[in-house]
């Protein structure tokens, strides 16, 4: 789960990481009030879960009340790469002397936390790495020992930051590590990490990703509701507790198990089709989940045909078939379905589908045949008038 900048900064402050003073605002009135309280100059920042806010015009400096109002009016409601701005963060302006980069993340390769520091902040870390890989100091932290003073010193010296801020930077990194562990973060990134003209080190931005699996022990974070991209199907899927990712094609995909669904997308693409989504109905795949999944997929009007790919392990194909029959009874389905059932109780599953005589449902035995068939159907433009009226065998 990704946090908005101001939410991340709240976690930082809770663990003693210095940040400039600021206030979140949801309306123009609130934004102006915040600016007046903080004193000018203030920076008005769009709160969206996507990068490139500055370039999109979502970050502006105001020197008086009028300007603060104009900026709030302009930024609220703005669309930044598919994300509507619903919230602002109004922050006290800082006098910038240097911009560094700092991050702590879980390094999957080393299976340990990794801390990074660079004196080249303000740009993307990948851009820094490309320009000058040596400019990023990286060290691993033993999770059973934690962040020690020497870690901070090593990072600071290896990154070559200004000598007078080595101690405060190390101290900030230690606090950042504390936040990273205490809040179960997968990533805490500060870019830029600012040295002010007064030589104070503060976090000017906060990018925090927390572990969704640990939310049970962070009720306050769990209560934050961050709207993702404004996508109807993704929202529907979230409400139904399904794992759904929108893609840009016209073939709806449903399967059981993340690996198999990914593989299904690939096989459809190889057959010349374009998947409209990733949807994992899960290992158990009870009838109810199937109904929910069908509902989400067919609500997407880009979808011209649907591939339903089930390999029954623990999941029983007859149960999936029954779920599908129930779904067709409850939902008005107008696009052709290709169903592939293999594995545990597959024959029984195919029999259930055959007896139900669902319109527009075709059954295939293998993944490749099913993929070829659904690509063909989607190519025909799909819809109720398509040829796929042959009843299930």
């Amino acid at each position: 789960m990704d946090l908005l900048e101001y939410q991340g900064k709240q976690l930082f402050r809770d663990h003693g990481v210095p940040t400039p003073a600021g206030r979140p605002a949801q309306t123009v009135v609130e934004a102006v009030e915040a600016a007046e309280e903080l004193g000018y100059p203030v920076v008005t920042k769009a709160q969206v879960l996507i990068g490139g806010r500055g370039k999109a015009g979502g970050i502006k400096v105001a020197n008086d009340r009028d300007e603060a109002r104009r900026h709030a009016e302009a930024i609220l409601g703005m669309d930044i790469r598919g994300f509507t701005v619903h919230e602002l963060y109004v922050e006290k302006g800082s006098r910038i002397a240097e911009e560094y980069y700092a991050a702590i993340l879980i390094d999957r390769g080393a299976k340990a936390p990794m801390a990074m520091l660079s004196r080249m902040g303000g740009m993307d870390v990948e851009e820094i790495a490309e320009r000058d890989p040596a400019a990023i100091a990286r060290i691993h932290i033993d999770p059973l020992v934690g962040f020690q003073d020497f870690h901070g010193r090593r990072l600071a010296f290896e990154a070559g930051i200004a000598a007078d801020v080595i101690r405060p930077t190390g101290a900030l990194l230690a606090r950042l590590y504390e936040a990273f562990v205490a809040e179960d973060a997968m990533l805490v990134e500060v870019n830029p990490l600012l040295v002010t003209e007064a030589r104070e080190v503060v976090a000017l931005d906060a990018k925090v990703t927390v572990d969704g699996n640990a939310l049970y022990r962070h009720p306050r974070t769990a209560a934050l509701r961050n709207p993702g991209a404004d996508d109807e199907q993704e929202q529907m899927a979230r409400e139904r507790d399904l794992t759904y990712v929108k893609l840009d094609g016209n073939i709806g995909i449903l399967g059981n198990g993340a690996g198999l669904v990914m593989s299904t997308l690939d096989v459809v693409a190889q057959a010349g089709g374009r998947p409209a989504n990733f949807l994992d109905a899960g290992g158990g795949s009870r009838a109810e989940a199937i109904v929910d999944a069908v509902e989400v997929i067919v609500s997407d009007d880009r979808v011209d045909a649907v591939l339903f790919n089930i390999f029954g392990g623990i999941t029983r194909c007859d149960e999936v078939a029954n779920g599908l029959v129930t779904a067709f009874g409850q939902i008005d389905v107008t696009v052709p379905f290709v169903v592939r059932l293999d594995g545990t109780n597959d024959e029984e599953g195919r029999r259930v589908l055959g007896e139900a005589e669902l319109p527009n449902v075709q059954v295939e035995k293998t993944m490749l045949e099913a993929a070829a068939r659904v690509v063909e159907l989607a190519g025909e433009g799909g819809g109720p008038s398509a040829q796929g009226g042959e009843p299930a065998r």
Binding site: G259, L265, D266, G312, G313, I314, L368
Partner: protein
Amino acid sequence: MSILIGSETKLVVCGLTGREGSFHGLSNRRYGTDLVAGVTPGKGGGDVDGVPIFDTVHEAVAETGANTSMVFVPARFAADSILEVADAGVELVVCITEGIPAHDMMRVYTHLRRGRTRLVGPNCPGVLSPGQANVGIIPAHFFSQGGVGLVSRSGTLTYQIGNELAGRGFGNSTIVGIGGDPIVGSSFIDVIALFEDDPDTKLIVMCGEIGGDEEERTADYVAEHVSKPVVAYIAGFTAPPGKTMGHAGAIVSGSSGTAQAKAEALEAQGVRVGRTPSEVAEVAAELSGAAA
């Protein structure tokens, strides 16, 4: 022969009294696994279908000589359970539970690497040595004994590929699901090293997916240390960057972790990569001289 589990396995299940734990634990026993004990704090002295339940893992090990454990407890208690198993001196722990916080797993991983206990999982389907023992939730009826060692990050995809291999007459020495989380106890390299040393494994199939750099590192390892033929499959060629594809670990971040990069790294080191599950079986058949 086989790796990790076999006829010498004596299994203790943490969470045997739960609905899922008892269902799969007893199904493992029906398959022939020597299920010697269950552990549920506060339920010691009872039994599940004749299998004695103990309050602590230490007691279960002392009383039954269990050498392998399956952890089936809810996510928030699972890290503690794995540590208890390790502390009791059990050699192998297979953790099926999904949804364990990553920070918990980092601590568990670091601790276990300093001792003798090997962890498979979490968030994995388990380990199956056909004809000998099953520890986990892999549906055993698809698999028969044979010469292919299969290691995978995913569950259903493993069954799919196992089924394609079976269609070509291949059986398996052992099937290992290493799990789809960012931090898992055993890597592809750990498992492939065991297959390399196992006389009954003639060919190795690895089934990877997007995210991380495990597959890339495995490619280098195979080139340097593995004499047996290795066939790979990678899922997620069509996955867009920045979106988690179901498994917590399956995410392409920045320019790293793409399926393309993984397939190229493997092919550069001479590992054949099947583009579909059925092509994996075709390549395996080709490499083993058409017969298994």
